[in-house]
Symmetry: C2
Subunit: 227 residues, 2 copies
Amino acid sequence: MLMQNHQAFEHGKPAGEAAKTGRSLSSVFHLSALEPVAAGKALCWEGDAAKHLFQVVEGVVRLQRIIGEGRRVITGFHFAGEIVGAFLQGDFLFTAEAVTDCKIRRVSRKTFQDEVARSDALRPEYIALLCHETAAAHDQMVLLSKKNAEERLCSFIATLAARPGAQPRPGLLRVPMNRQDIADYLGLTIETVSRTLTQLERDRVIALLSTREIRLCNRDLLEDMTC
Amino acid sequence: MLMQNHQAFEHGKPAGEAAKTGRSLSSVFHLSALEPVAAGKALCWEGDAAKHLFQVVEGVVRLQRIIGEGRRVITGFHFAGEIVGAFLQGDFLFTAEAVTDCKIRRVSRKTFQDEVARSDALRPEYIALLCHETAAAHDQMVLLSKKNAEERLCSFIATLAARPGAQPRPGLLRVPMNRQDIADYLGLTIETVSRTLTQLERDRVIALLSTREIRLCNRDLLEDMTC
DNA sequence: CGAGTTATTGACGAGAGTCAAACAACGTGG
DNA sequence: CCACGTTGTTTGACTCTCGTCAATAACTCG
């Protein structure tokens, strides 16, 4: 999920016990080799046994499901530092694909769960992560239930912008995914995403510098329009 | 969440460790007094500090959020045996209200978390519950993203029907919530819910016996129409 | 039985989807 | 370095599903 999902271990302040011992969920992956994954390639497939979990070291990953005849839903994006599949119990409930060229590490789910079960430092962090993911999913349900196209885009942009590292310089937002990904994440079509972004530019909320860069012209207005 | 949320401790088969020791998450609530909650009354309010968790002992509870000017989203229903707020870390992220007359037990969040942290039997069950809630939230995201009104209603009915105890006799489904609740859960309006149910009756998928009872005329067709 | 709530049905409109075409960005090879 | 094909994005015209508003019908509960 994209929603305020700044997993604590990412930006230097592992919480609570982990801080004392110097351990965090991230450390479970440290021994695993770095694997490159080219943009568009899958890390795992929906329905397969979830034998491994992944940590995104670099790049962006999308979680998606296909229903019926080619309808795709993106249920979340994962950024550098985040763990893919923390909430899995048996099979993969999604296909995970690299949005950009990525580097990942993998550990077996068994190893991960054993480490978490054994370590008093890791467990609270893991539980916090699960709680956070559930909360984020609820936020997304609200967006998909009741927000119109404009509110969805503003929420998306605001959440992206809140992510550390998303703005190379203040007010300049890098958007790593393409329009189709955004559409499938927000429950819209690519055309509606495009039209709505154009409209937001007319309204002087944003400026579309390139397809992967947005200037934030009016943060306050943007926030107001998220709901 | 409604989606396949048959929390394991409910119907007699607490999983794994808990089975051996006879302990389950339910047991954490056993010492608390039974409190009656009349239909429509709130158990807790969005934004308040989450000092307590609840177990629904009898009846049905809805979790809801209000955005903007009176738009209500129901993010989930909780049935007898289930725990309300398991994924909370600080404040309540929803208002919980009784859909029907309920009986509940409450424990302080601190007590709950301490018990879970202390018990090797409870922890896996708690983690499984969190994983399950996240998975269910993802299913609901798919529904809200890409399914049309008919598919949403069929999914809802099928999920409700899969719940143990929902059918007093086979093929007869009790629907504890009113049309507005269903609408706000499925991201539709009350009129669309009503129209779609009428249409499903015309198509001989269901029969509307009363506003709280549905006869399931064609389970296979119903399943086909969930997606 | 009757007032109030909840559900159904109908007529209409708006927002987003669909289909199609133009346009821009990008990479490759000549 | 430019022509060209490929892919991704934007824009336009039209359609359709679902929302809105309004009236009627069916429950519910004193």
